[in-house]
């Protein structure tokens, strides 16, 4: 595979879809294992390698995976593997694995299959915006195609068998990434998190930890995988997410009514720093981009669009920064390169800048 090819295309996040951008992306993943084979962590490297060599051509030939690329883990650099993690195509756990693991993914990034992560197969379907049902349909089609060719470990009582009992049954984890600065600014996120957890779903910050999520991005997902139909797991999450989105809309409206100046100041400062800073840490960038994204959605910032911000949320992450630089960078160099990239994309329109520069 050429991860560089992936880099050149805009990421799914930056699709610009989704009415108000609160739901950034939707994802469904299925855990599957081959019948008669030990799970990856217990199997030796040789067996994992046999499984990878068996599965890779099968997966690439599936109708759903037309136009896919694949790569064995040991054939990728650390940076390439990290890029896949930052693009949500691979997991940190998978990135750490060596010989015997690999990935097959469609060039449009909507379908990706990790081979020999915790399970033999972790198939995922990804889409921007809130489109869980569409994402599930695509996932199910891939699963069916796969099952016609390879027998999965399945028990009539326990369903699809997985390395960890937390995934057994459907093997399904559906998740939605939500940008909820309104709830965070109104200090209403904690009760929302509490309510979600009481319903048996998991919520965590995409960046940072717990309710202190950097960048106000939260991922909500189902926890239980056994004892419910796939459509119900997906449907329950979809309904819950729509409720949270309504809460966020309300919070934003109240925020603008009660603290409009504070919000404008918050957004304006973020834009000022992003447009002019020369050193930007990852967390600082995420917080300010979140404020800017809110500003765009509230109509406070008009000369930028959400797709620009979403692209930056991805491109300013460490591996992407280093890939763009063409070499590994130390933390300080990364912060400088990050600031440069953000300035270029958000700064004053280029024509005016050039005029100023030629003065010298």
């Amino acid at each position: 595979m050429n991860v560089g090819d992936l880099l050149r295309q805009p990421h799914l996040w930056a699709c610009g879809a989704g009415e108000d951008g609160i739901a950034a992306s939707s994802r469904v993943r299925l855990a599957r294992n081959l019948r008669g084979h030990a799970f990856p962590d217990w199997a030796g490297e040789d067996e994992n390698l046999r499984v990878w060599r068996t599965l890779e051509p099968v997966l690439r030939a599936l109708p759903s995976m037309q136009g896919s690329v694949s790569a064995a883990n040991e054939a990728m650099t650390d940076l390439d593997r990290q890029i896949l993690v930052e693009r949500h195509l691979s997991s940190r756990e998978h990135a750490r694995k060596g010989r015997g693991s690999g990935i097959v993914l469609r060039a449009d990034e909507r379908l990706a299959v990790m081979v020999n992560e915790e399970d033999h197969l972790r198939m995922q379907s990804l889409e921007c915006g809130l489109r869980l049902h569409e994402v599930w349909e695509r996932m199910e089609a891939l699963d069916r195609e796969f099952e016609e060719r390879i027998a999965c470990a399945f028990s009539p009582r326990l369903g699809y068998l997985t390395a960890c009992p937390t995934n057994v049954g459907t093997g399904l984890r559906a998740s939605v990434m939500l940008h909820v600065p309104g709830l965070v600014l109104m200090e209403e996120m904690a009760p929302v998190v509490n309510g979600i957890q009481k319903l048996g779903l998991a919520v965590r910050g995409l960046w940072g930890e717990g309710t202190e999520a950097v960048g106000n991005m939260f991922q909500i997902s189902n926890q239980m995988t056994l004892g419910a139909r796939e459509e119900d797991l997906v449907g329950d999450l979809d309904r819950l997410v729509r409720e949270v989105i309504d809460h966020e809309r309300n919070a934003r409206a109240r925020l603008m009514r009660s603290r409009e100046t504070v919000v404008r100041d918050h957004v304006g400062r973020a834009l000022g720093i992003l447009g002019h800073a020369h050193v930007l840490t990852s967390n600082e960038t995420l917080s300010h981009l979140s404020a800017l994204r809110l500003g765009i959605e509230l109509g406070i910032v008009e000369r930028l669009d959400r797709a620009t911000v979403d692209a930056l949320l991805l491109l300013t992450q460490p591996a992407h920064i280093q890939r763009a630089a063409g070499r590994p960078l130390g933390p300080r160099e990364r912060d400088e390169a990050r600031a440069r990239l953000v300035r270029e994309r958000l700064g004053e329109p280029p024509r005016r800048r050039r005029v100023r520069k030629t003065k010298a």
Binding site: N33, R35, G36, H37, A38, F39, D41, W42, S91, R92, E93, E118, E140, D143, R144, E147, E148, A151, C152, A153, F154, S155, P156, R157, L158, G159, Y160, L161, A163, C164, P165, T166, V168, G169, T170, L172, Q197, K198, L199, G200, R204, G210, Q223, M224, T225, L226, G227, A228, R229, E230
Partner: protein
């Protein structure tokens, strides 16, 4: 806040999960979390941790044969406790007794109701499924989970009808 496991180090990993309608929280230090097989970057559930931490003090099972192993992959119970992960698909049968309470804690029900592999070689026939549903039904009745039992009974009846009609989708249905 001190770690609830070793009671020595500062707790920096905080897990929350809803179990049986009750919110449980566990605070622990990174060392103990790691020992418990918790992926600190992406903690899954308290149950995972309990699985891993039962080494000296078994969670709730009888002091049966201490180190049974899966006959297929030879994973021992101790290995499972250490990592929270099973060795192969057959482990589910080998450790069925130990897994049952854990599965009930982690999930909505203790049996699968979702998709089944379609007309796959070796897929599940309605007869096999009916046997499993019957088993689950018996358990539900024994545990006085009547709502679930009623649902299982309906499912069983539907399956029996399919078997009687000789469902074309299930060529391998046993007589």
């Amino acid at each position: 806040m001190k770690c609830e496991i070793c009671k020595a180090q500062e707790a920096s990993v905080h897990l929350t999960q809803v179990m049986d309608g009750e919110v449980k929280k566990l605070h622990m230090c990174e060392d103990c979390a790691r020992k418990g097989g918790i992926n600190i970057e992406n903690p899954v559930s308290i149950s995972d941790l309990l699985l891993g931490l039962g080494k000296e003090e078994p969670v709730e099972e009888a002091p049966a044969a201490p180190d049974r192993a899966c006959p297929v992959c030879h994973l021992r119970q101790a290995d499972f406790r250490k990592t929270g992960r099973l060795g192969c698909p057959e482990c589910y049968a080998a450790f069925a007794t130990e897994l049952a309470p854990l599965l009930r804690q982690m999930h909505r029900r203790d049996h699968h109701v979702g998709r089944t592999p379609g007309a796959v070689p070796g897929g599940v026939s309605p007869a096999e499924e009916a046997a499993a549903v019957q088993e689950a039904l018996d358990r539900a009745v024994a545990d006085e989970r009547f709502e679930e039992a009623a649902r299982l009974r309906d499912r069983l009846l539907a399956l029996r009808q399919r078997i009687a009609a000789g469902s074309p989708a299930a060529p391998e249905a046993r007589p």
